[in-house]
């Protein structure tokens, strides 16, 4: 039965999103509707988790905006993502790096993956 659901979801899933995982730094170009106008807002930050499967999968991006941590949960297959770019591959040991929330400054850095 789950197979049927997967088949239905296939139609709504996007294939143009590159592969990324927790610890990576991504730049999401997010479409925002204002009245009848549409503009694109970039949101760059560290992916702290990927959650769910299939068409309902989401990821959380965290960034520091003027000293305040901002997190945004974005569905991976959302039509509001214009493009997604992986700017840095991070080296982390877990799939959900929530410990990042408690760290600031130099401690909150993530080692870059080489090669």
């Amino acid at each position: 039965m789950q197979g049927i659901i997967r088949e239905i979801q296939q139609e709504f899933m996007r294939t143009d999103i590159p592969d990324f995982r927790a610890g990576d730094t991504v730049k999401v170009m997010y479409k925002i509707k204002e009245g009848d106008k549409e503009r694109v807002q970039p949101f760059q930050g560290v992916v702290i988790q990927r959650r769910g499967t299939g068409a309902t999968e989401t990821f959380t991006v965290r960034k520091m905006a003027s000293g305040v941590g901002v997190e945004r949960i974005i569905p991976i297959h959302s039509p509001y993502i214009e493009s997604l770019e992986v700017t840095k591959r991070g080296k982390v040991r877990r799939a959900r790096i929530f410990y990042l929330r408690g760290l600031t400054g130099k401690k909150a850095r993530i080692k870059e993956k080489r090669g």
């Binding site: 659901i5 309902t56 569905p75 297959h77 959302s78």
Partner: protein, 205 residues
């Protein structure tokens, strides 16, 4: 009111043309077969009996096999009667997904998930008793008073209390058909449908 028997497959979500993420339920509506037509003259009421699904022949009683044989259909999983159906149906006919179209509002009946013995907060939406500090203890999810004292010196019937919750026949009205896959006999409606995945539901227009 045309209707048929289906099966809940599961939930998912997708983006509609407005770009909104919509939660929806996928239902299997394989063709139903008419196994009996009840008429006013013969049975005292008019209804159409539909059969859905497949069952093993060895698990079907001889009496039921005879009933299916008479209608000329394979042994089925469920039989249900629908009143106020199309009167032109006769035994052996099929009723399928084609009676629905995208945008229709349907009502869906199913048996809700059993929750077991639940307290009044979950079962009836009570607020619980007040606060957890100021000397108060172990009353957080209690029902409070259930009536007055020597008048009437009893508890009124129908007082909402803790007890078995769920496993009831529930009908949900006005679920919009958002998508159909006729070649796979799938109906996708917006919102939730009562019951477990894989449970049978009645879909009526």
């Amino acid at each position: 009111m045309p209707g048929l028997i289906g099966k809940k497959i599961g939930m998912t979500s997708f983006y509609n043309e407005m770009g909104r993420n919509v939660a929806c339920t996928v239902l299997d509506v394989s063709p139903n077969y008419v196994t009996q037509v009840k008429t006013n003259e013969k049975d005292g009421y008019s209804a159409v009996q539909l059969a859905y699904g497949t069952a093993k022949e060895k698990n079907t009683t001889k009496a039921m096999k005879g009933h299916y044989n008479k209608a000329g259909v394979a042994v089925a999983e469920v039989l249900k009667e629908f009143q106020e159906m199309d009167e032109n149906l006769s035994v052996g006919d099929t009723v399928d997904i084609n009676q629905f179209k995208v945008g229709d509002l349907v009502e869906i009946t199913g048996v809700s998930k059993g929750k077991g013995f639940q307290g009044v907060v979950k079962r009836h939406g009570f607020g619980g008793v007040g606060q957890s500090t100021h000397g108060q203890h172990n009353r957080l999810r209690a029902p409070g008073s259930i009536g007055a004292c020597s008048t009437p010196s009893r508890v009124f019937k129908g007082m909402r209390m803790a007890g078995r919750m769920g496993n009831d026949r529930i009908t949900v009205f006005n679920l919009r058909v958002v998508k159909m896959v006729p070649e796979k006999n799938l109906l996708i409606v917006r919102g939730a449908v009562p019951g477990h995945n894989g449970s049978n539901v009645l879909i009526q227009l």
